[in-house]
Every structure is written in C-alpha cells, then in structure tokens.
Amino acid sequence: MIVTWMLLIAMLVALVNGAWNGDNLNRCADVQSSSPVVPLGSPVNATCVVDKGCPLFLGQAVQLEWLLDSEVIPGSTEFNKNETKSTVAISSFNHTKAVLTCYIKNFDQIVGGVQIHAGYPPEVPQNLSCQANLTRPISLTCSWDPGELQTYLHTSYSLHSKTRESNYTYEAPAGVHRYTIPRSDLSLFSDMNIYVKAVNELGQAISTAITLEPVSSAKLDPPKIEWITVCKKPGCLQLKWILIQNSWIHIRSLNLEVLVKAADSSNLPIKQIDCNKTKNCDVVTLRSLLHGTQYWVQIRVRVKKGPWSEWSSSQTGVTLESAPTGRFDTLANVSWYRKPTQLNISLFWKPSKQFNANGQNISYIISRSHKPQLGILCSTSWKYCTFPLSSRVKKVYLTAVNRAGKSPPTVIHIYPPQDQTTIQDVTAVPLDNQSFLVHWTHLVSTDLTGFVVEWRPMLKENLSHVHFEKVDKNQTKLILAGNFEPYKPYRISVYPRYKHGIGLSHSVMAYLRQKAPSTVPEIKIKNTWMSSVELTWEKIPLDQQNGFIQHYTIFYWGEKEALKVQTADSKTTEIILKNLKPESLYTAFMMLGTFGGSLNGSTITFKTDHFDMMITGSGVGVLLIIIIAFLAFFSIQKSRIKVRLWPDVPDPANSSIKRWPPESTQYTRGSWNNDEPNPKYLSHLSFLDLTTKLSKEEDDLWFNSTEDTSDLGESLCGSPLIPEYTASNSSSVPYATVIFSAPCNSPAPEEPPAYLRSESTQPLLEREESFSPQCYQNVVSGVKSEQCFFGQFQDYIPETVDDPAIAWDDFPFLSALSMYDNESD
C-alpha cells in the first residue's frame, strides 16, 4: 500500500513537473458516451480508454471501474499493449441528469467522465390561440399549452408567423408559453399563419397552425347604447349604439347581438345582426315587443367571426301602451258571512297565458256588472280581493285597467260554500331544490270537475303571496314551479272543484330545503329530585325552525360519568332525566335537529338533591298519618277507659256564662279571642239571696268550712294543670264564693262584695287538659299581675293601675256577675 502511494505521489510530481515545464501532456483517459442527451429509460453505452501515456497506466494490473454519480456500475475492460479500454452499458438510463465517471481504483483516481442528460422529446404544443389588443400599443398575444409531459430537458418554444408579405420568428422566454407580437410585425387586416415550434435536444414538435386576421381576433370593449327611444307604433323600440374605443372599425365589419329582457326578467331570444347586410347597423329597431312594457336591452359586438365583447351596460325603454287583452284564471274561496244571505268572497286571480297587460300601471276592478264602472265590488292593484257579497249574486266580473283602456271582463261564477271534500291525502316533496311535486288522492265523485292546488308561504301573511293552479280532474299530481325559498315553510292545499263550487281543502306543510334550526330552545329546570330532573323548554318560532323539527335530544353527563342521551319527540316540551346520582353536578345541552341539520344549544348545569323531597315528604306524610291515627285511636280508647273509670264531671274551667250548654265543654279554641271580648269561663254559678244578717255568718262559714265547698262554689278559671299552680297544689282546684251585700236583683251595692277563695281536692276530668285557658284578660282596662289567678300569663305586660274601682274587673267571676246584673236590669 505504501508502495502504491509512493508511486502515485511520484506520478503526480511527474505530472506537475510536466505541466510546469510546458509539456504537451495527453489526457490520461478519454471517456466517450453514446450520447450526452438520451431519452429517459433508453440504453447508454460509454467507453473509457486509458492511454499508455498516462502515468496511471498499469496495463493488466489496472482496476478500472465506472461510477454513475456515486454508484459503482459494472463494466468490462479490454487490455492491449497501448491502452486499457473499459466499456459500460447501462440498459436503461433512469436519471434525468447524471455523471458517468471512469475510476482507477488502484490509485483512487477519477480519470474522466461525461455528463448525461435524459428526458423526453417535446410534446406537440396544444391549444394555440391568439388575441389582438387594439388599444395602444396594438399587439397580438399568442399562448399555447406545452403539454402534460415534462421533458426534463431545456425545451425552447418559438412562435412563427407568416403573412403574405413577411415571416417572423419569435423565441419565447424560458418557461413562458406565450408571446406578444408587436404592432410592427402585424398586418391588421391580413391573414397571419401562426404556429409554435418546440425544440429540445431530443427533437422538435410543431403545433397545428392557425390562421387569423389580427383585428378579427380582438375582443372589443363593450359597446355603448347611446339611447333607446319609442317608435310611433306600439311594441317597438329603437336603439342607437357606438363603439367607444375602436370606432375606426368599419361598422359593416361588425356583428351584433341584442339581448332583450322584459321587466318580469324573462329574456327574449338573443338576436344576432350581421351589420354587413344592413345599411344603418348602428340603429337597431326592436319590434314585436309587448305593449306598454319596460324592456332592458344590452348589446355586444365582435369583428367578423372574432370573440364577442362583453355585454354593454343595459338601457331601458318602455313601449307604447294599449288596453289590456286576454282573461284571467281565478280562484274564489267562498264562505258564509251571514248565512244564508251574505257570503264572504276571497278572490284570487292570475293572468292567463293569453293575457297581456299592455301597460305598466295596471289595476283590477271586480264588479257585479260586466261594465266595470257599475256595481264595483273591489278596485285594487293586487291580484286578490276580499269582499262580502249577497248570496243572490251568482256572477261577478274581473276587468284589468291601464292608462290606455280596459280588458274584456272575465266572468267569475260564485257558488255557495261546499262542505264536502273528496281529497283524501296530500303529499308535497321538493324537486330539484327548485320546485315541489304535489301528489294527492281522492274519492270518486261524479260532481268532481277538477282540483285547485294553492300554495302560500306560511311566514308571509299577505294574501298577495297566495298562488294557485287549476288542474284537470284526471290529474293527481302537479309540479309547483315558483320562487320558492329554501328553509321557509309553505302551506300547500288541494281543493276539489265541483260543478257548483269548491269543496274543502286538504293541506300539508312543506319545505323546499331544510337546514339546522337557527336557534335552540333554552332549557329550564322545572323540578329536581334526588335521582332525576325535569327539564322544560319552549318551542322555537316557525321562522327559526328552518325545517321540520325531528326531535329534541338532550345530552347530559355528570362528573366522572359518561355522556348520556335522551330524546323527546317534536311535540313535547319537557323531559325527565332519570337515573341520576344524588347530590351530583350535571351538565346538559339540547340538540335540535331538522332533516337538514342540527344545532346544539347552550349548556346548563344542575345538581340533584341530597334527599328526595318527594319521597321524604311522602314518608313524613305517611308517618304523620300513622301518628294521627294512632293518637286518634289511643284517644278514643282512652276516653272509653276514662268514661269507665271516672264519671264525666263538667269542667268548671271551661264554663262560660254565655255558653253554658254542655257542648261548651268541648270548646277547644284558645282563650284569647278578640271577637268575643272579655270571655268568662265559669263551671257553675249559683245565686243565693242572703239576708244581711246572715252575711257575717256566711263569711265565717266560708272561712271556716273550706273542706266542703264542692256544692257551693265552682271553679272560676284556669286549669289545675297550670305549672305553677300544679306544682304548689296539684291535688286541689280553686273555688271562689262571692257575697254581695244586697240582693241579686237590687241595684249595685255601695260596698264592694266580698269573695272567698277555696280549693277543692276533687280531681278534674282528664279532658280538661285539652286546653288551658290563659289568664283572663281585662280588655277594658289594664290588669295587675295579681289578676292572673288560675291561668298562665304569658304575653301580658302588666300596668300599674291605682283605681280601686277596677277591683271588680280583677276577677272574671265578678265581672260575669256584673254582666248578669246588667242582663237582669
């Protein structure tokens, strides 16, 4: 190896010395290929000859190799005395550009190489076209299509033009497939033969030649309509036009197209005018137009057979008016206004095919007489009218009127309303997104003469939007072609026509196209329970539905819960989401869908209850019922027991001087009742006439005989169960005896009566416990704390009263006596 390197260095030194010494050194190796440019995929052959004169010449010892770029490819080497020749054959050259080099492996030296390009010959240029520009600077621009196939080689395109006088060739810039021929090389009115030639190293291709006259290939600027005027005869307009930019072109070299559009947007057929055949082509007369009709006119021009210019801006003209001609198709919807004398008529009409308004400001008159000026029922510019009519009138007349005159009247027969119908079913399906196909079925009827199909947009109230079509009785379907708007609801009705009127209709709603609704109802939470929630919403307005609402879909999910879906049909407005977790936060939203799409609403969140109010409430209710029942039962049982064990003794505390009857014992109302001021509850009241003498004795008797008072005194008020009281004296009942110094029926004594207080040990009946009358309240004046004898005093705020005369009121018993006195008086 070292020897090889030393040898190589020696060779290189020799080479360098040779160069410096100016020796005419031969090339070390000569590499030749079959062609430097080859078709892609074709075979390539190359030879590398290393001459004996080369310092690297090693004879048979040499190791020659071929490299295609950096890839080693096999070759065959031949040796002779003077040279070593290596040959390589590449069966298919698949590189668009590659370097094939000859390499001496012994010395690791590249001694020669060739660069090989591969590609395809050019395709024939296609679609050669030229268009002249007649505004300064005048030129002719030609363009062409080089073809789909990439050649991978530099391909030049040249444009060749040939006229009778001269020939020109133009080289298109690289990569540009168009060329603009300057004015100097153009002959504006001479035919030019033009073609494109594509050339690369593998060949050339010539396009099909085109012959054109530069002026005729120009696309002129749109002409201008100078004016439109009305001819003297009806149905005629005249227009004058000019070319703005290229007015020098002889008018008879031009062709003209006229586009006439009526006011109702219907286009008349485009008429082409060859100006070469007319004397005054710049003035065009438009004949056979409708009378009194506005027309919009546009024109465009071209030179000979060249490209058309754009349409001019439109100009309008109105033909002379004449009286309307033709009749109307009508639909009379009749209903009773005042049966059987008055009818209500809704009359709709539309021009028949033969009708011509012949004017612009047309109005309509409905009259009872065929003379429009007599018995006018309605005069309108709309194509409908609603009016009352006597049921005796059998015919009305419809006349169209414009400034030039009146149309012949159209007779409309008025029949009373028919209550019958033979229409069974109506369906309407959209057709081509532009029209509806209406289909209906009907019963067989001998009176049937045909049908009327009526349609109207549901979002427009005005009756002018009502359309109708009359069809034969043998027909059961109709295509409605009109200006239907997508996403808007239409009501389509089919009426049967009878010999004597129109029957009841059958209607359906239809959409031409549907899309997602414009809005989604807002969900509201109606009720929330432990495991369910009731949601409610309102239906969205018809104009926002954009189609038939399919159903309401509620998507909801809780924390760490999968999404759940529940749907409700389109007629409902509430839904209950069940199987929710208690006290959990849920998120929900509504998706509202039509057959054309769906829209999601905003999300709401709700939380289920901790406990179920309903269940709890019902449980508590049941429990209460049980308790009440138990108590009732127990009280019934207890009273029976009591009746058995203890005799029924009246309750003195529950006795009243006013309400003495036995039922007063069952009085359970509270003692504080303002409706009955100053109530007095007495158990028993006895009046004794005592002599004055005995009074002292009685006093003593009272004071001395406290043990036996059950037959004398009665309890006044209070309950023995009053806590304070019962605590101190649980086994006795207080009694009081009042002793007057005068007889009962005598006037009030001058001295205040004396009273005696006592207690009884006789037990009271249990039912007295059901109420506890409060302290007596002296409504008239204040009371002292001492006034609460037998009851519980709670809210009363005592006042200090110094008047000793009030002492009578201190005691209800005494007060009752006072009342008794008054009554006696």
Binding site: R183, S190, T278, V283, T285
Partner: protein, 274 residues
C-alpha cells in the same frame, strides 16, 4: 339641381383644399374660391383672389382660375353619390373586393383618427396647428424642405380609372410613409408616428390587394419614393416638416376615404331589426 351642384362643389372643394393638392393649392393663387354660405372663408385664400364667378343657383363666388378645380370637385362629388362609372359594376360586386374595401376604409379611419394625436405628440411649436388657416404661410418652407405633393385622387372616370385610383392611393401611401420615416429619426417623441407608419403600411397592403383584384397582373409592392430628400436643417424645419406631412396626409386620407366610400356597395336591408 343647381343647389345640389353647388353644395357638392362646396363639399368637394373644402375637402380638397388641404388634400392631395395641398402644395399646388397653397402655391397657386388661382385657387381663391371660398364659400360665402357656411363657415368663415379662408382669409388667405380670399386675399389672393383675383376675380370671382358666381355659380348659378348657389351663393358661392369662384375665381376664374378656380374653375378646373371646381369642375374636378364637382365631378368627384357626383361620383361619390353613386353616378355610374365604367369599371365599378364589375368589381364592386365582388364580395372579396368589398371585404378589402371595408378593411381599407377601417384603416383609413384609423389613420384619420390617429393624425391629431400624432401631431400633438411630435409638434410642439404652438403656431403649427393641424387645421389652422395659417398653414398657407408654410408653402415656401414646404418647398424649401422638399415635401412633394401627394398624388391626386379624383372620382372614377374614363380618364381616371379604378386602376389609376388605386395606384395613386398606393403611391400616396408610400410617399407619406417614406416622408414620415425620413422625419422620424429627428423626432423626440416617435411612438405615435411609428404607429402611423404601420397603419399606412397596412393600408398599402389592402390597396395592393384591391389592385391585384383589379389588375390581376403586373402588380408589385410599391417601391420607395425616388429622390426623396428632405432638407431638415434645424429643429424648426423638422417641426414644420412633420406638421406639413401630417397636414398633407390628413387631406390625402380624406380623399381616400371618399374614394373608398364611392366604391362601396350598399347593403339591401335599410335598418337592423331585432
């Protein structure tokens, strides 16, 4: 008839005044007629008028020396109104000829429309105006510079055949093209004048086509005008030269337009109908 004659003569003379006989008109004081009816008469012409002849039936005064011109003008005016001419019927009916005629007419109009723009673009001396009445003052200078007059164009007659007319057209076009090309190197703004030469060239091609149809043999492209040498010493001479060439070209094209229109065959339909 006399009124008709009078108006035709007036029209023809007015158009010829700065037309093909530009130089001779400006040099020859005999052309001293003016029309009293209509526009203001050319004071230059009026100044040179020696005597006047009143044509019967019209209020126009012509000098005696005007008569030959007037006769020519009248004859041309009458022929453009469709008077029978010997060769016209045979060739005018040829659709190909008519087609070339239309194209020639288009080019003539194009040239006539381009001349004012070209004049504005290259003539910057304010006194040199295209349709000025002062142009007669430049007759001497035109002669000094060496601008030859254009070939005469007249109505078809036995003496002025279609071939003659077309040949004169061809010569006139070539002359003006050569004149413009002579002046062109001296112009500062050339674009519009170059365009004009292209249009003249195109029109020559069309006239040549017509001539080939009419003559069939011995027709070749016109040769450059022999002996054309303009004496353009200073920029003023250049300005005057281009001005006078354009004035003369305008007149020549107007004559051409009339001649071409006289050859047109009217279509059958009177008006375009939808």
């Amino acid at each position: 008839m006399l009124e008709y004659m009078c108006s035709n003569v007036q029209t023809a003379l007015t158009t010829l005044r700065l037309g093909s006989r530009f130089t001779s008109i400006l040099n020859d004081s005999s052309v001293g007629f003016y029309a009293r009816r209509g526009n203001t008469p050319d004071p230059a012409v009026r100044k040179r008028s020696a005597g006047f002849v009143l044509l019967p039936g019209c209020r126009q005064v012509l000098t005696v020396s005007d008569l030959p011109v007037a006769v020519f003008a009248f004859s041309m005016a009458t022929t453009t109104r469709g008077a029978p001419i010997p060769e016209k019927s045979a060739l005018v009916g040829n659709p190909q000829f008519q087609e070339i005629l239309k194209d020639s007419s288009s080019l003539t109009h194009k040239i006539l429309q381009s001349i004012p723009g070209a004049h504005r673009s290259c003539v910057n001396v304010e006194t040199l105006r295209l349709n000025s009445s002062e142009n007669y003052k430049l007759v001497t200078l035109a002669s000094t510079i060496g601008i030859p007059s254009a070939p005469a164009l007249s109505a078809l007659s036995d003496n002025f055949t279609l071939n003659t007319m077309l040949r004169h057209m061809l010569e006139g076009l070539q002359l003006h093209k050569d004149l413009l090309n002579h002046v062109l190197p001296r112009l500062e703004v050339k674009d519009m004048v170059i365009d004009l030469t292209h249009d003249l060239n195109d029109l020559s091609v069309q006239v040549l086509k017509m001539l080939k149809l009419a003559q069939r043999e011995g027709v070749s492209k016109p040769n450059p005008t022999l002996g054309l040498a303009l004496d353009l010493r200073g920029s003023y001479e250049v300005q005057v030269a281009i001005h006078l060439i354009l004035v003369q070209l305008q007149g020549f094209e107007q004559d051409m337009d009339r001649c071409l229109r006289s050859l047109e065959q009217n279509p059958l339909e009177e008006e375009a109908e939808y």
